[in-house]
C-alpha cells in the first residue's frame, strides 16, 4: 500500500492511495494517514488506484473522517473502482463520507 500527499494551492490536501486497503495495507499507512487527518482540515482521498477494500480499511477511512470533521473540516473520497465502491455502499460508508467521481468535484466539495 502506498500513500502520496499533495498539498494543493486551494488549501486542499489530496491523498492518493495505491494498492490493497486490507489488514496489511491499512497497517502500513495507518500512522501516516491518521497524522494527516489530525493536521488537515480539507482532505480528498483518491481511491482510484485502490484495488481492494475490507473492513480494516473502512475503519481507517471512517476514523480519519471523524477526526477531520471533529475540527470543523471536511474529508471526501474520490473515484473508487466499482468493486471498492460496492464495499463502501454495502457498509453504508458512502452515506457518511461523500464520494465524488473526479478531482474537480471532490476538491470543490471540501474547499474552505
Amino acid at each position: 500500500m502506498e500513500l502520496a500527499v499533495e498539498d494543493m494551492e486551494s488549501g486542499v490536501t489530496l491523498v492518493r492511495l495505491n494498492g490493497r486497503l486490507d489488514i496489511a495495507g491499512a497497517s502500513v499507512i495507518d500512522l501516516r494517514f491518521s497524522a494527516l487527518a489530525g493536521s488537515r482540515r480539507s482532505m480528498v482521498v483518491d481511491l482510484s488506484e485502490v484495488t481492494f477494500l475490507a473492513s480494516m480499511g473502512i475503519r481507517l477511512l471512517l476514523g480519519s473522517a471523524k477526526t477531520v470533521t471533529s475540527k470543523g473540516g471536511h474529508m471526501v473520497l474520490m473515484a473508487p473502482i466499482a468493486d471498492v465502491k460496492n464495499v463502501l455502499t454495502t457498509a453504508g460508508i458512502d452515506t457518511l463520507i461523500p464520494v465524488y467521481p473526479d478531482v474537480q468535484s471532490a476538491v470543490a466539495a471540501v474547499k474552505l
Binding site: I23, F52, A54, M56, I58, K66, A91, L96
Partner: protein, 139 residues
C-alpha cells in the same frame, strides 16, 4: 502444476498476506470471474480477522481454509479453527448511523460477509469452528 485448494494460516493478523495471492492463483486456475475472486478474498479476510480477534490464543493452532470450486455453479469456502465457539451467523446486523458523528468504528466485517457471500453456514464439531461460505458463480 495443480493449485492446492487448502491453505493453513497462522492465528496472526500480521501474517494473513499470503491469503489474497493464494485465492488469486486458485481463481486464475479455475477461471473465476473477477467479481467472484474479490468477494471470496473479502469474505475470507473478514472471517479470518474475526476468528483471530475473537480468539487470539496462539495455542489455538493454525486456521485451515479449503476452497471447493469443482461445481460449475458455485464456489464453497470452508474456514476451520479450534478454540472458543464463534458463530458469525448469530451476530446482529450493525446499526446504521445517521451521521459521521454518530458512526461507530468497526463491526462491519460480518455484515460484509453476509452481503458478499450467497450463503453462510456455521457448524461446531469436536471443539472446532467451521464456517462455510457459498458464492454463486453468477453474481
Amino acid at each position: 502444476m495443480p493449485i492446492e485448494r487448502r491453505l493453513a494460516v497462522p492465528r496472526d493478523l500480521g501474517r494473513l498476506d499470503v491469503v489474497a495471492p493464494w485465492v488469486d492463483a486458485v481463481a486464475h486456475a479455475g477461471d473465476w470471474p473477477d467479481k467472484l475472486s474479490f468477494a471470496v478474498q473479502l469474505c475470507l479476510e473478514e472471517a479470518l480477522a474475526n476468528i483471530i480477534e475473537h480468539d487470539a490464543d496462539p495455542d489455538g493452532g493454525p486456521i485451515a481454509i479449503v476452497i471447493d470450486d469443482s461445481d460449475s455453479r458455485r464456489v464453497a469456502v470452508r474456514v476451520e479453527s479450534a478454540g472458543k465457539p464463534f458463530d458469525p451467523t448469530r451476530y446482529p446486523e450493525p446499526v446504521t448511523a445517521e451521521s459521521l458523528v454518530e458512526a461507530k468504528i468497526g463491526g462491519q466485517g460480518i455484515h460484509l460477509m453476509r452481503s458478499f457471500a450467497s450463503a453462510m453456514r456455521y457448524e461446531r464439531r469436536d471443539k472446532r469452528n467451521s464456517i462455510e461460505l457459498i458464492f454463486d458463480r453468477i453474481q
